[in-house]
């Protein structure tokens, strides 16, 4: 077990070497560690980590914090030799969320940035086609994964749902079935109570 904790230590030393101001360090488990840094240090940290061996950008996702008026970006890196996931988190302004694209460091980020733009509205100057439509076809509302988007209102607006009539429609209008049931219950109770009148 020892070498796993030492992996986290090696990651710490790497981060200290980069002399980046770490706002928060969160050790999720033996294989995953998260660092929160400022927006300006993203490029330096990512390029230094890539040199150290974290060559795969597994995912780039974003979280919308409306009450703090912040938009948080998370870069998930993975190293195939020493199996440790590193999360680089940084909070950016929510009104005009804009982060320089990391396409030069990780070319794979092209589609992640396009997706982040489509679902959160974050702009990535440097990525040539981040405004293009990727998954949602002909979307005509604010980016759907932002917290202030109300899916129920959109669903009611766009997709008419089925109206159910108030009272239940009677399957057998002549009510014969209901009378038969009531007669049967009366008979059963009479038998149960030895035949005297209820």
């Amino acid at each position: 077990m020892t070498n796993f904790t030492s992996n986290i230590k090696t990651v710490d030393q790497i981060i200290e070497k980069t002399r980046v101001e770490v706002l928060l360090k969160d050790e999720i488990d033996n294989y995953q560690v998260a660092y929160e840094i400022n927006k300006a240090d993203i490029h330096t940290t990512l390029s230094s980590l890539k040199k150290e061996g974290w060559i795969q950008l597994s995912y780039l996702s974003a979280i919308d914090w409306p009450d703090e008026n912040k938009m948080e970006l998370i870069y998930l890196l993975f190293n195939w030799e020493t199996p440790v996931y590193i999360q680089i988190r940084s909070k950016i302004d929510r009104e005009h969320p804009e982060v320089a694209s990391i396409i030069q460091i990780y070319p794979g980020a092209k589609y992640y940035e396009r997706e982040a733009h489509e679902f959160f509205g974050i702009h990535f100057p440097g990525n040539p086609d981040y405004e293009k439509q990727l998954i949602l076809e002909n979307w005509d509302d604010i980016p759907p994964l932002r917290k202030d988007f109300d899916p129920r209102a959109y669903s009611d607006k766009k997709f008419p749902s089925r109206e159910y009539p108030d009272q239940f429609s009677e399957k057998d209008p002549k009510n014969k079935k209901r009378e038969k049931l009531e007669a049967r219950d009366i008979r059963a109770n009479k038998l149960r109570s030895g035949g005297e009148k209820q």
Binding site: K132, N138, P144, Y154, S155, F159, P160, S161
Partner: protein, 192 residues
């Protein structure tokens, strides 16, 4: 027999023979229904058990078919997002007449558990005519076969006329599709 007082002699014979031919055709259509399984949602997992030993679908003369041109039933199994609905309508229009739609699960009925999601439609027969709904959040094979038998009954007494409704109210359906899906045929980078 219809009263022949008002309609001309050969008209009656023609409509009568057509109706007779149509009824014979109904017998054949009823007993050999081929399905195009549009496995969009999670209800698709109910189909293999309904084809294998326990609930053999083939004894009703039903079987899976590869393309819409050959299929009679369009089996919509589960929730439909606008993207899948566009493809579904395109495939529905490619099927040969007379065609039927069987909707599995509660999602096509009223959106099911995704009723408040921004990507799932709530009522399928708003866009294409549905002949038989099979309710239940993943209906078991028994209710599935029950639904198919209902469809057969519908064909027999000519209530399963979804495809005729589609022709008569064509613009109503198209208006609904336009409202919910915007443009039906997509031209973008991936469909050059």
């Amino acid at each position: 027999m219809l009263s022949t007082k008002f309609t001309k002699k050969d008209d009656v014979v023609k409509t009568e023979t057509d109706r007779k031919w149509w009824e014979i055709g109904d017998y054949f259509r009823r007993n050999s229904l081929w399905m195009l399984m549009y496995c969009t949602g999670c209800c698709a997992i109910e189909l293999p058990p309904s084809m294998t030993a326990a609930y053999d679908m083939e004894r009703l003369g039903m079987g899976p078919m590869a393309t819409p041109r050959q299929a009679d039933i369009l089996l919509v199994s589960g929730y439909l997002s606008p993207k899948t609905l566009r493809r579904l309508i395109y495939t529905y229009e490619q099927m040969s007449e007379p065609r039927y739609v069987v909707a599995l699960g509660s999602c096509p009925i009223n959106g099911g558990i995704y009723h408040d999601s921004h990507v799932v439609i709530n009522k399928l027969n708003q866009y294409i005519p549905v002949d038989v709904y099979v309710g239940g959040c993943m209906p078991n094979p028994e209710s599935l076969l029950n639904g198919f038998v209902d469809l057969m009954q519908g064909i027999k007494n000519k209530t399963a006329m979804g495809w005729k409704r589609y022709h008569e109210h064509y613009d109503w359906y198209k208006a609904n599709q336009k409202h919910s899906l915007g443009e039906l045929i997509i031209h973008d980078e991936f469909h050059e």
